[in-house]
Amino acid sequence: MLVEIRNLQVFYGKFQALEIDRPIRINEGERIGIIGSNGAGKTTLVKTLLGLTTYKGRVETRLKPQDMAAHLQFNHYVSTMSVRHVLETILDTSIKTNQRLRELIEYFEFEECLKKRYKSLSGGQKQRLTIIMVMMQDAPLTFYDEVTSGLDFETRQRLMEKLLQWYEGKSNTLCIVSHYYEELELLADHLLILDQGRVIDYGRKQELFQKYCGESIITLDANAENERLTASYRKLAAPAHLIALACREQAEEEELAGLLIRNNINFKRSSSDIEIMSVNAKAAYAKEHESGVSVND
């Protein structure tokens, strides 16, 4: 066990930003995706684990602060400084003599940026600079807080591919905060779902999917015709523009797919859709608090 969180409460003044009332254990090598809408407490949790907030409760870990690395939402450096000097000073090494750093610079195609001043870098280049430095720390526990936010689709894709390749087969534990579900589908094996400072659920990605959605789901556009056609199937909570149908077993899925194909209706099949899963987890949590029955019991 790398980190265990118990009965955690974080306040900003009188406002309770985070409450974790059930134990959360993070083990070595796990890739934890932290999801939730704005104000859910994701960044507060990251800052708490990094020791940057004061909290009530317990965060037990054998790691020292310097065993953790973090790519925060905002990562600024001295704007007039050359990127080379930022890199060499922060990492306290020389690019010339550090083979591993040179490899990372090459891996992220960052050579040309070294001559520039920090303020001249584009958004994607700034993200890559921090990622290089975070990766160089090679920390047992690494946080990536919205590492691709504000980047265009193509840059985002490329960055995620690089991250994915780099950590493949490595034992570092990663905590990844993201609003992009497809990134978490690629990177995370565990999910922590937060909403308004509370834990909705935490567990293995696949187990959570099965708990809230079943074996697989089929999503299609929400319109009157599709509603009528799928009226007899079990519907899941979904964003307003979608109908999400739960399939308990393969036969049910094949039957539903056949129906949609025969009626020439476009649909998407998934056995790992994080968005639909988290919507249903939140719905179940809300229901639990109305009825007083816990979904985690």
């Binding site: 306040f11 003044g13 990094l50 940057l52 907030t53 004061t54 909290y55 009530k56 310097q66 065993d67 690395a69 973090a70 925060l72 905002f74 990562n75 600024h76 450096y77 001295v78 704007s79 007039t80 400084m81 000097h85 060499e88 000073t89 922060i90 990492l91 306290d92 430095m133 720390q137 090679d138 920390a139």
Partner: protein, 258 residues
Amino acid sequence: MTEKRCGRRLIVYEIRNVLGNPFIYMFGIVFPVLMFFLIIKTVQADVPESAISQANTAVFITMTLMIPMAVVLLGYSSNYSQELEKEIPLRMKLFGYPEKSVLLAKIIAQFVVMAAGLVIYTAVAYASVEMETPRVSSALCLILCLFLLSGIYFALAHGVATIFKKFGAAYVVMMTVFFGSMILCGMMGIKVDQLPTFAQKMAALLPMSYISSDFIDFWTEGSYNFAPLIQSFLFTGAVSGIVLLIAVRREYRKITSV
């Protein structure tokens, strides 16, 4: 990852950081040199030929005070407040640099740049006009006072920047202190004894006014009663210390307010 210390690389980085601020060149080098030449032109018209060298030296001593004020008081507060605005100190901490290491590197960098500014200013002044050569003890006394002032300014600038955490607010406060001190301590061409009584009383609390008006008296020979100067150093040091303490306590309360 091990905790990083204040080493050569971090100090050089902080020197680059200081030099990246255009205020330093403008207010720390160009402005004192310009003011020196401007004021000696005016002074020379009013003094006899035999006293020109002494008058030039008196102006030179007064204008040296501008360098630590510009580099440390104004430059550091503007730099550090911008860093706080962008959470750069937090980034450094997360990359393994404890606050004390960064602060130590920053103080050293400020002293190095201030010393360099002083050397350039002195070289330009002594190469351009007729000046009196000081006794070693007098020169050392001035240098010591300038470094002491730099330390006090550093504490004040760090405190103000930490309290406001915004460049705009910190800059307004420091500009007020900068120009206020210049007026009170004779750096704008008006001597301390020419100021209104209330302003003279305020000036008496600042070490810069003693350096500006008295150091010429023992520059080449003579003795000096250091007691008022030491008292003024203690006063400004205490004020800066209190500001720094308030800033540190506010930060501590913010972190521990549960």
